[in-house]
């Protein structure tokens, strides 16, 4: 699905990532971990094309991300569901409208998707918050709404950046369960987190590979987790 070959990246300062190679096979579940500032978010952005590598090559769905024009990039975004670290909602729209936004911008008729939307809302447990605006939600509710938005177009790949960033243990378990369910549906999942307990909990439910960024390199973490 998504392959990184000898990817290097720097924002203009020093090299942040060097010689990173990884393949996200269809249906796989990956965790990405590492200290704050190590470049987890950067690596995810490289995966979904928000950044283009300064070295090496990123291929998504067998297309070189570097060669994509702006329209092709938009179509790539529709095939990869992303949960951003800071959620990124439109505050003037309701939660329901935010979740439906990928449908709206791809020209689909929301009226016809009403049933799907309601089902999705109840899946993430936000049925009664549908008409609230994003600033009115708690951190955990926002994270769940972001997850719902990322899957609304049934993407093959879901990339989540600290989806349990500011929620309590119970809520993080709930979010993890949603991700695991998606993986069981055949989706390819990549989750960046520094929450090792989350990874341990996940390992009991799915076959997850853990990647760690340290010293600008990507390493496969062992069973010591």
């Amino acid at each position: 699905m998504i392959e990184l070959e000898n990817v290097g990246y720097n924002y203009g300062g020093g090299e942040l990532l060097t010689d990173v190679s990884v393949q996200l096979a269809p249906g796989s579940f990956h965790f990405l971990t590492g200290p704050s500032g190590a470049g987890k978010t950067t690596l995810l952005k490289l995966c979904y094309g928000a950044l283009t590598p300064t070295m090496g090559r990123v291929r998504a769905f067998n297309m070189d991300v570097k060669g994509l024009d702006r329209d092709q990039m938009a179509y790539l975004r529709r095939r990869v569901g992303v949960v951003h670290q800071d959620c990124r909602f439109l505050d003037h729209l309701s939660i329901l409208e935010n979740i439906a936004l990928p449908l709206t911008v791809s020209g689909r008729d929301i009226g016809q998707e009403e049933a799907n939307l309601q089902e999705l809302l109840s899946w993430v447990g936000l049925s009664d918050r549908a008409h609230a605006t994003p600033p009115e939600l708690s951190g955990g509710e926002r994270q769940r709404a972001a997850l719902a938005r990322s899957v609304i177009l049934s993407p093959d790949v879901i990339i989540a950046d600290e989806p349990t960033g500011n929620v309590d243990w119970e809520m993080s378990q709930r979010l993890l369960q949603l991700l695991v369910e998606l993986n069981h549906m055949g989706k390819t999942i990549l989750v960046a987190t520094h929450d090792l307990s989350l990874i341990r909990a996940a390992k009991k439910q799915v076959q997850a590979r853990v990647l760690r960024i340290s010293n600008r390199q990507l390493q496969q973490a062992g069973a010591d987790l």
Binding site: R70, L90, T104, V105, S106
Partner: protein, 299 residues
């Protein structure tokens, strides 16, 4: 632009419209500017049409009519009139020459002396109306010949004094058109500014829309549609007030001169209807360009 694209631009859809938050001051600026500019455009249009009409009419009269005045003692008047008419008939470039009848002359004088003027017993000059062909007659040649053969004849090319006025009217028409172009240009510039402000204020929104897979054309259209609609509404209102303003001007009359003729006439009243359409078109082009540039820069 495909027809479908045009349709979605005009009909739009409610969901897509909500995607960009309504922005206060750029909306008001666009409405106000297009309204004010449309108001001005109506007057510029009326001015151009009125000055055009005047220029045409005066030019036509100028080209065609002159008067020959025979001031002779009563007993010679008829003979000299006949002689002058004979000369005029032979002159190439004169379409027709006709001595005004007694009644016509009396009518000309009536405003000053009243209706019961005994013209026959007064040394009132006989008037001959000379209508020129195109091209006209040789004026100097005609004068010389009249001087020699009809001593009492004076060729009064009375419309000559209007020549500079015709020039002025034509210049006025050109200036009115330049004004209309300037109004269009100023509108485009202001709407571009407003659109850029709206795009800048909504940079975050644009980013989120891109993150969820919106095409640039979709994002651009969300802005373009709004600005085009606002410009159309503003221009329609401005045009309405402009037309009322022109309509309230005093009735045009043929002698009334220039100021009272500064209106719209006949089909001319339909011309301002083009203003909102043009205003919307200007807004469409200006916003499209601003959005495409901005989205390109943000890429």
């Amino acid at each position: 632009m495909s027809l479908l694209h045009l349709r979605s631009l005009i009909v739009g859809d409610a969901q897509a419209d909500r995607v960009v938050p309504p922005s206060g001051f750029t909306a008001q600026l666009t409405l106000f500017v297009s309204g004010a500019m449309a108001f001005l455009a109506v007057f510029a249009l009326a001015l151009s049409m009125a000055s055009g009409r005047l220029a045409d009419r005066w030019a036509e009269e100028l080209a065609r009519a002159a008067t020959l005045r025979i001031s002779a003692p009563l007993e010679q008047r008829q003979a000299q009139t006949d002689a002058a008419l004979a000369i005029l008939q032979q002159t190439p470039g004169v379409a027709s020459a006709r001595a005004l009848s007694r009644e016509e002359q009396a009518a000309l004088l009536a405003p000053w002396f009243g209706g019961e003027l005994p013209l026959d017993s007064l040394p009132v000059p006989q008037l001959i109306e000379v209508i020129a062909d195109t091209p006209g007659y040789d004026e100097t040649g005609l004068r010389l010949r009249l001087q020699a053969e009809v001593p009492g004849a004076v060729l009064d090319d009375h419309t000559r004094w209007r020549e500079p006025l015709v020039d002025a009217a034509q210049t006025l028409r050109r200036l009115a058109w330049v004004s209309i172009l300037l109004i269009g240009g100023a509108t485009a510039a202001m709407i571009t500014l407003a659109a850029n402000a709206a795009l800048a204020a909504n940079a975050q929104v644009i980013e989120v829309l891109r993150l969820v897979g919106a095409l640039d054309t979709y994002i651009a259209q969300a802005f373009v549609r709004r600005f085009t609609l606002r410009a159309f509404v503003g221009a329609t209102v401005g045009m309405g007030f402009g037309i009322i303003g022109v309509w309230l001007m005093p009735e045009a009359s043929r002698e009334g001169g220039f100021l009272t003729g500064l209106g719209l006439q006949g089909w001319g009243w339909l011309a301002p209807l083009a203003i909102p359409v043009l205003g919307a078109l200007v807004a469409f082009v200006a916003t499209s360009r601003a959005a495409n540039k901005r989205l390109g820069d943000l890429a």
